[in-house]
């Protein structure tokens, strides 16, 4: 009976048949074979009809059938052995003759076959990737659906690589695909390859140097669109475009509604937490600046195989005649990228600075960005002459009495930015000319000149005019007659341990002589870290009661003993340690101890000499480093203290002076203009007022204004009723006559009500 019922379910359409086949592949084998034969004949028809393929009616049927066969492919592996191959040849050899929809379907089916592991990922990619060249935007003008096809292939490739890389990295596949991309960076599909690589980079599927190499190639490809896409990638400007997780409309919360709920509903902790989080998310959203995020793509830049070569090639691309195809905006992007790479890696690219010269005029479009690029590209390893040209040009063009304050301050600020990175790039005369603007009445110019002065007070005060040097710098100059004048090529970074002078100062303040006990305590920290296993070994030594152990307690002994005895003691020490355990680490530890004692001896000898000398070290890093290095071996406790002191000093530094690593920082082009403020016209004022009013209710009392028009309510009437008329009513008099208990009740109810209202 059941059989008959099943038989009654005779498939009349493909979808029903697919369902039936999936349930019971064996029974419906003949039906499947019939459909397979049908597919074959339709395929033959498709092949036979040459020109009118796109019009014949079999297209939809064929699409359905292909989908069906793909879906049931795993059930009939033997029968459909040829099927994937046929689809592939259809796609790769006859794609021009296929309808766009059929083409799309075939790609879909191939992906589905890949998902079921019937074909390999490599073969799928090798089938669909060549289509890109055929249907690229450059090649193809007649085909209307090429864009849709490219989009489909894009998504197919991305999802494929994502899914294959989701668990463990499919390293081999990645490598082959990357090679395919590298070799496939032809004119036709360069843009596509670039886009997909960027997408995969930001999805964190590809993050190796090979990927960066692809991007380098595409940036240098010469095609404007592709190159700009590559440059934007390195600048990190396209991050928002490609990054995922744009959860825009998901958690839209209506704050006013939530407030209302808070008023009405029961007040719980959960409710208030919900409210707080909602407020937080909204604030976050508001803070999100869509134009932000031009922070350099540092990982990509660090993975560059040859930054110098890359920068040189980029510059060649920009500076030669072939740059005509770039418009100004694109050129600026390239200037920005080159300058960042040069700045971050401290490269030598001397042609770049003279290239900037021709663009440095106030009327140049986006000149602030070019100025920023100038600043970014300068660093202390460039010969000062090269940058001096730029500085002089900026000074000539921008800084004079004849130009507007905006221009002047922009020029001055960019000169300052350049000079912070390369302080030698200016001569004394020009610097003093520029600092003379500190008397300017225009605030922006004034500030810019003062910042220049404060920079040189720190870097090279002798270049400033006497009056500008300031107290500290003058004293310093007087103190050490010759001073340390700046020199090209000499590293100005602190030698030794940064911040050591702080420690020295602190020690002196504390009056800490060399205190052995403390020191031992300090070393103990390290001892614990050094070897836990060691400790265990030491613990589990069997001690026989009748034997007498001479375990020298070195710490106490040493203090008491004379210096002459020290040598012997050291031996003792190490021996006893060896007795306890013959682990290697303990040996090492013993050695360090030995060293320490030796150094301590030397230190004691010198102490008298030092004390005799005057204490005139005022935190000079080099001196104090020499002193401390000669005296002590720094203990972990010392380092901890050093960190602490550095932190304290850091707070001070934050107030004024910035860190010395400037070459990796980005220069804010908009900030170069400075705080220029001129009086607003009336229109502008009104405009700004309007802007402020936008999206808020009008201020003022809502009293007397009726939200919804209605006649007077009974409550209102009762309120306005003459008091004399009411005074003898029970409603009024009764209140006074209430019992104590009733009064209490009413009061309680009132309090509760107020609480519910949220007071």
């Amino acid at each position: 009976m059941a059989r008959k019922q099943r038989a009654a379910l005779l498939p009349t359409n493909i979808i029903l048949l697919q369902n039936l086949v999936k349930r019971d592949p064996l029974s419906y084998r003949e039906e499947f074979l019939q459909q397979y034969a049908h597919y074959e004949s339709l395929r033959d028809i498709l092949m036979a009809s040459s020109s009118s393929i796109k019009e014949n009616g079999i297209d939809e049927e064929l699409r359905e059938l292909i989908g069906f066969i793909t879906a049931v492919c795993p059930c009939y592996k033997e029968e459909t052995k040829q099927f994937p191959g046929e689809l592939k040849t259809l796609l790769s050899e006859h794609h021009r003759d296929l309808n766009p929809e059929l083409r799309e379907k075939i790609i879909q089916c191939l992906v589905m076959l890949r998902n079921r592991d019937i074909i390999s990922a490599e073969s799928l990619i090798q089938t669909i990737f060549p289509l890109l060249t055929e249907y690229s935007a450059v090649n193809n003008n007649t085909e209307t659906n090429s864009k849709a096809l490219r989009k489909q292939i894009f998504h197919t490739l991305v999802t494929l690589l994502k899914s294959l890389n989701s668990g463990t990295r499919a390293a081999r596949l990645n490598k082959t695909v990357q090679n395919l991309f590298l070799s496939g960076l032809t004119k036709e599909n360069a843009l596509f390859v670039t886009k997909i690589t960027i997408k995969l980079w930001y999805s964190q599927i590809w993050n190796d140097s090979r990927t960066v190499e692809i991007m380098v190639q595409s940036t240098l490809s010469g095609d404007a669109k592709v190159s700009v896409a590559g440059a934007r990638f390195f600048l990190g400007a396209d991050k928002d475009l490609y990054e995922e997780g744009n959860d825009d409309s998901d958690d839209e919360v209506d704050i006013s509604q939530l407030k209302h709920h808070m008023k009405i509903n029961k007040k719980t902790k959960k409710q208030s937490k919900k409210f707080d989080s909602a407020v937080k998310t909204i604030k976050k959203k508001q803070n999100k600046d869509p134009n932000k995020g031009t922070a350099l793509n540092f990982t990509a830049v660090q993975l560059l195989r040859d930054p110098q070569g890359f920068a040189e090639n980029l510059f060649k691309q920009l500076a030669t005649t072939s740059a005509r195809k770039f418009n100004m905006e694109q050129k600026i992007i390239f200037m920005n990228l080159i300058s960042r790479i040069v700045g971050v890696n401290k490269l030598q690219l001397l042609g770049l600075y003279s290239y900037f010269l021709k663009y440095l005029t106030p009327k140049q479009q986006d000149v602030t960005k070019i100025l920023a690029a100038c600043a970014q590209s300068s660093h202390d390893l460039v010969p000062p002459d090269a940058i001096n040209m730029v500085v002089r040009k900026i000074a000539d063009e921008f800084v004079s009495d004849g130009v507007s304050t905006e221009v002047c301050s922009a020029g001055m600020n960019s000169i300052r930015e350049i000079l912070t990175r390369a302080p030698l790039a200016i001569d004394q005369a020009l610097l003093q000319d520029l600092t003379a603007y500190s008397k300017s009445k225009a605030k922006a110019v004034n500030i810019a000149a003062k910042s220049l002065i404060s920079l040189y007070r720190e870097v090279a005060p002798e270049m400033l005019m006497r009056k500008d040097r300031g107290k500290e710098a003058s004293i310093k100059l007087q103190g050490s007659k010759k001073g340390k004048s700046l020199q090209f090529g000499v590293e100005s970074s602190v030698q030794g341990i940064p911040g050591i002078e702080l420690l020295d100062k602190w020690r002196e303040e504390q009056g800490l002589a060399v205190d052995d006990e403390n020191e031992e305590a300090a070393w103990e920290e390290q001892q614990k870290d050094l070897s836990d296993a060691d400790d265990i070994d030491g613990d589990w030594v069997t001690v026989e009661s009748d034997k007498e152990y001479e375990i020298s307690d070195g710490d106490d002994d040493k203090e008491d003993e004379d210096e002459k005895m020290a040598d012997a003691d050291v031996n003792d020490d190490s021996d006893s340690d060896l007795d306890l355990s013959d682990d290697d680490e303990s040996k090492n530890f013993a050695k360090t101890k030995k060293n320490k004692t030796i150094s301590r001896k030397a230190k004691k000898k010198r102490r008298e000499i030092q004390e005799a000398e005057e204490k005139k070290y005022n935190g000079d890093a080099e001196e104090s480093f020499k002193k401390l290095a000669a005296n002590r071996i720094l203990t972990p406790a010392d380092f901890a203290k050093l960190e602490e002191l550095k932190m304290e000093a850091g707070v001070e530094k934050l107030m004024g002076i910035k860190s010395s690593i400037r070459n990796e920082e980005e220069v804010d082009a908009d900030g170069l203009v400075g705080p220029v403020k001129r009086k607003q016209t009336k229109e502008e004022r009104i405009e700004s007022i309007r802007e402020g009013r936008e999206g808020r209710e009008k201020f003022g009392s809502r009293r007397g204004k009726i939200a919804t028009p209605h006649s007077t309510t009974n409550r209102e009437k009762a309120r306005k009723k003459n008091f004399i008329m009411m005074i003898h009513k029970r409603q009024v008099q009764g209140k006074a006559r209430r019992s104590l208990r009733d009064k209490q009740k009413v009061l309680q109810a009132h309090i509760e009500k107020q609480k519910k209202k949220g007071y």
Partner: protein
């Protein structure tokens, strides 16, 4: 006084625009953006001289065979049937357009197509038989039962009225045999024997009622004709040989003369587009009766005889047709056996 808006706009023109350092110069109000480039400009063709001729009407009806409504398609076919004689140059287009209608969902359209096919001259049908046979094959495996039922009618017309019998058995022997098997719901492979019984019997017997029963009778009849055309040796082989001798100076002259059948080298697929498949038997060409008979006996007969015997037991008209078919099959098998023995002896 002009309107307020106008005066405002006029004033706007005289306000000085501030230039800012690092910002673009504001665009003039009459600025035209000419940065775009047009790849091509298409101008639609217009002509007053286009007058619908008789030819155009006919062409329009050809395209109407692809219309969405069955009624329109049917009328278009009727129109073609009426007028094809006056447009002999369009015959190719007519045949390719009605070939698609073999798969039409509507029975009335298929009926008209069948009538039209019968009236077409056999020479032109032979010329375009490849397209037709592809669609017939497709119809034989179609999922819609009614399309399947009519498919053997078309094959019959092709063989008898179109005169393509020889071409069909030459070029499509295996493919068509397979199609017949699936049409009659007979499993080909031994693997599906036990399970396919349900499907087969239900589809063949109780499935479609009267239409299905008559269709099955016709399928068997056409199958008989097909086998007779392909596998039964012609009795008058002597006379044929005599003819050949008469035509040329040598017995094998015929092999070197330009063949008179249309598309004699089609099976080589020199100029056809196709998905190349290794070892595909479907499109193999069997020009020889003996080979065809051997294929038939080796691959299909066993299963066929079994099915035929069961149909004979059903009785009725189906039984009678099946009986005559099985008698013929036995004769074919006998011949094959004798032939094999004679080969073995020699």
């Amino acid at each position: 006084m002009g309107s307020k808006k106008k005066t405002k706009e006029k004033k706007k023109d005289f306000i000085k625009q501030r230039l800012k350092v690092g910002k673009d110069k504001p665009k003039a109000s009459n600025h035209t953006d000419v940065s775009f480039t047009a790849k091509s400009i298409s101008i639609p063709r217009q002509s007053v001289l286009d007058v619908k001729t008789n030819e155009a009407e006919f062409a329009k009806n050809i395209s109407l065979t692809r219309h969405a409504t069955p009624q329109v398609r049917k009328e278009a076919v009727l129109f073609l049937a009426k007028h094809w004689r006056s447009h002999p140059t369009m015959l190719a287009a007519v045949i390719s357009s009605i070939a698609k209608l073999i798969l039409d969902q509507s029975g009335s359209v298929r009926g008209e197509v069948l009538k039209l096919l019968k009236t077409l001259p056999s020479a032109s049908v032979q010329l375009h038989y490849t397209v037709l046979v592809l669609y017939v094959q497709s119809a034989m495996t179609h999922i819609g039962a009614s399309v399947r039922h009519d498919s053997s009618k078309f094959l019959e017309v092709l063989m008898e009225d179109g005169g393509c019998g020889k071409l069909l058995v030459d070029n499509h022997w295996i493919k068509l045999s397979r199609c017949f098997f699936s049409l009659l719901h007979w499993p080909i492979n031994a693997a599906g024997v036990g399970l396919a019984v349900t499907v087969g019997s239900s589809a063949g017997g109780g499935g479609g009622g009267q239409a299905a029963r008559t269709a099955r009778v016709r399928h068997l009849q056409v199958l008989g004709k097909f086998i007779e055309q392909g596998a039964v040796e012609v009795k008058s082989i002597d006379t044929e040989a005599g003819q050949i001798e008469a035509e040329g100076p040598h017995v094998s002259t015929q092999c070197y003369v330009t063949p008179d059948v249309p598309g004699p080298f089609q099976h080589l697929r020199l100029f056809a587009r196709a998905v190349n498949i290794e070892g595909d038997l479907n499109n193999m060409r069997f020009e020889d009766v003996l080979v065809r008979r051997k294929v038939l006996v080796d691959v299909f007969t066993e299963r066929m005889m079994k099915e035929l015997r069961s149909i004979v037991k059903e009785g009725g008209e189906v039984g009678r047709v099946a009986n005559s078919l099985s008698v013929m099959m036995e004769r074919v098998m006998e011949d094959e056996k004798n032939y094999q023995q004679s080969i073995g002896a020699s």
